[in-house]
Every structure is written in structure tokens, then in C-alpha cells.
């Protein structure tokens, strides 16, 4: 019995902590984030299994975690509000080439993060080549490039 309860408690506590840690932790994982997640995994694992290394216990834990995950994804599908609570909501950081500085500060992001995503995703070099930058619910930054004068002409010629 206590295996199932422990799994439920640990699942929600971990979810809560990761949720309040903000989305930066989930999207682009730095070397430090990676170490952080390894430590979180290692320190909770023993608390859940305790001194019970039986197959039954492992099965109970896996079943509980998977069913919780499925349950939450069903809540998520059914109620849009739950989706926001569970998985966050997208936030626009660059609107029509205009940097929304206060939003970025609250999301703990800088222009560097946006330029990095722009380089990685589209090979863009400057802020004026970005039309929209969106911090997605998943924690990734997605970029919509601005259509450049040169590019538009080239596109017409083609």
C-alpha cells in the first residue's frame, strides 16, 4: 500500500517543484541542468524504493507512475484550463519584431536566448530578422523569421 502512496506523493511533489522552477529548466538543458536532473532522480529513487528491492514493488511503482501520467494527460485533453496548469501556456517574446522586455525578464530570458534560438533554428543573425519569438509551453523558444526584402525578391524571381 505505501509504495503506491509514496509514488503518488513523490510524483506530485516533483511535478510541483519542476513546475515552479519555471520553464527555463525544461527547454534548453545546460550541463548544469543535466546534473540537477541526475541528482533529483538519484535522491528520490531511494526514497521511493526504500529497502524494498522486490519485483512487486518495482511493478507497483511503475504502474502508479504510468497511470498518473496517463490520468494527467487525459485531464489535459479534457479541460484547457488544466492544460495551462499542468503544462504552462505559450508566451510571445518578440511581437512583430518588437522585443517584449518585461515578459522576458519575468521568464528569466535575455535577447541572447532568442538570438541563439534564431541561429539554431533558422540561421538568422540579427534581431530585425525575427518577426515572432515564442516561449512555448514545452519550454523551447520557437522563431518565426521576418520576410527580408532580399529574400522576397529572390522568392519572386524563383
Amino acid at each position: 500500500m505505501d509504495s503506491v502512496l509514496k509514488a503518488v506523493v513523490v510524483f506530485f511533489v516533483l511535478w510541483g517543484i519542476i513546475r515552479i522552477s519555471g520553464r527555463r529548466t525544461l527547454g534548453e538543458m545546460t550541463a548544469f541542468d543535466f546534473v540537477l536532473f541526475l541528482i533529483i532522480g538519484g535522491s528520490t529513487q531511494r526514497a521511493i524504493t526504500g529497502e524494498d528491492y522486490s519485483m512487486t514493488n518495482a511493478l507497483l511503482l511503475v504502474a502508479t507512475f504510468v497511470i498518473l501520467d496517463i490520468g494527467l494527460s487525459m485531464l489535459d485533453l479534457k479541460w484547457p484550463f488544466m492544460r495551462r496548469v499542468l503544462n504552462a501556456t505559450p508566451t510571445i517574446l518578440v511581437d512583430n519584431g518588437h522585443l517584449l522586455v518585461n515578459r522576458m525578464r519575468r521568464a528569466r530570458l535575455t535577447q541572447e536566448h532568442i538570438l541563439e534560438a534564431a541561429r539554431r533554428l533558422h540561421g538568422l543573425e540579427r534581431m530585425d530578422q525575427i518577426k515572432f519569438a515564442i516561449l512555448e509551453a514545452s519550454g523551447d523558444i520557437s522563431i518565426v523569421p521576418a520576410i527580408q526584402q532580399g529574400t522576397a525578391k529572390a522568392a519572386r524571381r524563383a
Binding site: G16, I17, I20, S21, G22, G50, E51, R84, A88, T89, P90, T91, I92, D95, L100, V101, N102, R103, R106, A107, F132, I134, V144
Partner: protein, 162 residues
């Protein structure tokens, strides 16, 4: 357009929710920080808030006021000068919630009793100490009583976190 107004293109935003979530995040960081600070003080075991002592009736005890399930901790029993054979009686609260892993020095005799168990030690006439290492087993607040020989019991409580 207000920076915090919800935009609908290219994605539909919920800025009211998002702003509330940013506040919740910051409150959450505060709570995590508080947990870490309280952890340093010993509120969750091993630290100055957790150091407990009880004394009287020829016996003084040092113990961990806050304990965590499965963790090993020490109970030190100091006997006042007296006889060379001393018996320490511990109640069922101790027996049920702590699993003894080592007793220093080893008792010369151990015996079950109606309300717990007793350990008999050979000690010098000027008194001495016995350390009992035990793993916490139960959860919650546990009332423990200990007495030396026929003296009235000393009682104290420990809190075992899950």
C-alpha cells in the same frame, strides 16, 4: 499595446494566467529557500533544533528530537554514579518505532517486559554512558519513556518524518 495584454497571433495567449503563474513561481522559490534554511537549522533532523536532552532520576539522555524514517541516529544514556549493574528500561513506543542496530557497550542481558524491554549493563560505580544506535521506523510523534533501574521514568518525544 500593453506588454502584458494577451495576444492572439501567432498563438493564443493567456497572459492573466501566465502572470499569476509567474507570481506562484516566485512564491514557490521562497518556499524552497525556506525549506533549505529550516533544513540547516535542524528542523528536519540533525542540527541544533534537533538536539534533545532529558535528565533526571539518575539518568540523562541525549537524542534527536526530529528524526527521519530509516535514518540511523544515536541515543546516549548517561548513568549517574551508583551500582555496577544498571538496567535501562525502554517502553513499547521505542521498541515499535526504532530498530536497534548497535548498542555500545553490549548489554550483559536483555529482556522483554510487559510494556517494552530492558537492557542490563555492567558499568563502573562512578557511572558511565551507553550509546544506542537505531534506525527510525514509524512516522509521526512518538512518546518514549526510559528509566534506570527502579527510578521513576523519564519521558520525551521524537518526531519521525516520512
Amino acid at each position: 499595446m500593453d506588454e502584458f495584454a494577451s495576444r492572439h497571433y501567432p498563438v493564443k495567449e493567456h497572459m492573466r494566467f501566465q502572470r499569476r503563474m509567474w507570481v506562484v513561481e516566485r512564491v514557490g522559490w521562497g518556499v524552497l529557500g525556506l525549506i533549505a534554511v529550516l533544513g540547516l537549522t535542524g528542523l528536519f533532523g540533525s542540527g541544533w533544533l534537533s538536539r534533545g536532552t532529558a535528565a533526571g532520576n539518575g539518568l540523562s539522555i541525549e537524542y534527536e528530537r526530529f528524526e527521519r524514517a530509516t535514518r540511523l541516529s544515536a541515543f546516549a544514556f548517561h548513568f549517574a554514579p551508583g551500582a555496577t549493574e544498571r538496567t535501562l528500561h525502554l517502553n513499547r513506543g521505542f521498541q515499535k518505532n526504532y530498530q536497534i542496530s548497535r548498542i555500545e557497550p553490549e548489554p550483559t542481558r536483555s529482556q522483554a517486559e510487559p510494556d517494552g524491554f530492558s537492557l542490563t549493563f555492567a558499568l563502573p560505580p562512578e557511572g558511565g554512558s551507553v550509546v544506542l544506535w537505531a534506525h527510525a521506523r514509524g512516522y509521526g510523534i512518538q512518546r518514549i519513556t526510559a528509566r534506570s533501574d527502579r527510578a521513576p521514568p523519564l519521558s520525551f518525544s521524537t518526531m519521525i518524518y516520512p
